[in-house]
Symmetry: C2
Subunit: 200 residues, 2 copies
């Protein structure tokens, strides 16, 4: 009895997110208002507003629901894979995932554009997970004696930065996959060479 | 007498560009139409259209007029500066220039966003000049025996790619200058280490 109202609120929240996602996909992020989402759910706009104070907050929650669950992108690699190969596979996994996100949800592009200055929490959490995974691979490379690196965390941050040109949705949306994969290979080669040479 | 009409056409073209730039700056790129620009110049929209077939073409010409003349960004460095120092100074010069462009012309941000898939010629030319300058610095490093590199052109392309996170207007607009300068230093350190270690 006590749990019921909270359960209900969570369900309502999920309903709003699913409807918003569907409408954004159909009509585009800019064209859909909070009132449209409320109307499609036969709710009052005030009720939607109680859960999400802005369209940016909605986008953050949709992105979070998607990115926080993208665990397959961060799964472990088979043992004894050299760190360079792990880096490449990780980058190509992310690249593939991001291209699919853009293709399946064209509104993501519009959304990233409109919210680029909002620094979404979901984006920050996703970026932190990428840095963490990169840090793990770099630390493995240090243990194996392949990488020279005093500060693996700072190295992971720099590697995440340089990967923007093959991972950031804005920068990859206009290039074809073959070009991007080739670019990713070149950059991973660069990163591997830098990490071997005491870059950090 | 023969040259007069051509001269006139070039002047008209410049007048259109200057007026467009001023109106974009005042009201934003999306809010200003070709008809607005024509009206402000007491011209017919058809006359503007004769020179520029779209707003994207106008933006390309404005960006070209600005970027093609940004020669100070590509000026030579004092002699005997180590290649790492040259790379850093070049990157910081570009970063400074791009931050100024964004600050002076906020419409540039909106414009880059709206034309990101158009692959503007002006942007391609600018990128080619950046790669060329990077290639020169890398070749100097090879001659001095500091860099190991079989393919300086491919290396210059990869370096330009990894610099996106400190040079691309979309990626730098939301960060403060101090953060960006620090990031640029880390990346140049990485690039220098990679180029020393046969990354290309």
């Amino acid at each position: 009895m006590i749990k019921r109202p909270r359960r209900k609120a969570e369900e309502t929240r999920e309903d709003i997110l699913s409807m918003a996602e569907m409408l954004f996909r159909e009509r585009g992020y800019l064209a859909v208002s909070i009132a449209d989402i409320a109307g499609a759910l036969h709710m009052s706009p005030a009720n939607v507003f109680k859960h999400f104070h802005s369209k940016v907050a909605l986008i953050d929650a949709i992105a979070g629901r998607h990115l926080d669950n993208a665990t397959e992108r961060f799964a472990a690699f088979e043992q004894d894979l050299p760190p360079k190969e792990q880096l490449l596979r990780f980058v190509l996994r992310l690249l593939e995932g991001h291209l699919q996100d853009i293709q399946k949800n064209p509104y993501i592009f519009e959304m990233v554009l409109s919210t680029i200055e909002a620094k979404l929490d979901a984006g920050n959490r996703y970026r932190a997970r990428i840095e963490q995974k990169l840090g793990e691979i770099i630390r493995e490379g240090i243990v194996e004696g392949r990488y020279q690196c005093r500060d693996p965390e700072s190295a992971a941050r720099t590697v995440a930065d340089v990967l923007a040109c093959v991972l950031h949705p804005i920068l990859i949306a206009r290039d074809d996959k073959e070009t991007l994969v080739h670019r990713a290979e070149d950059i991973v080669g660069f990163v591997d060479a830098a990490l071997q040479n005491n870059a950090c």
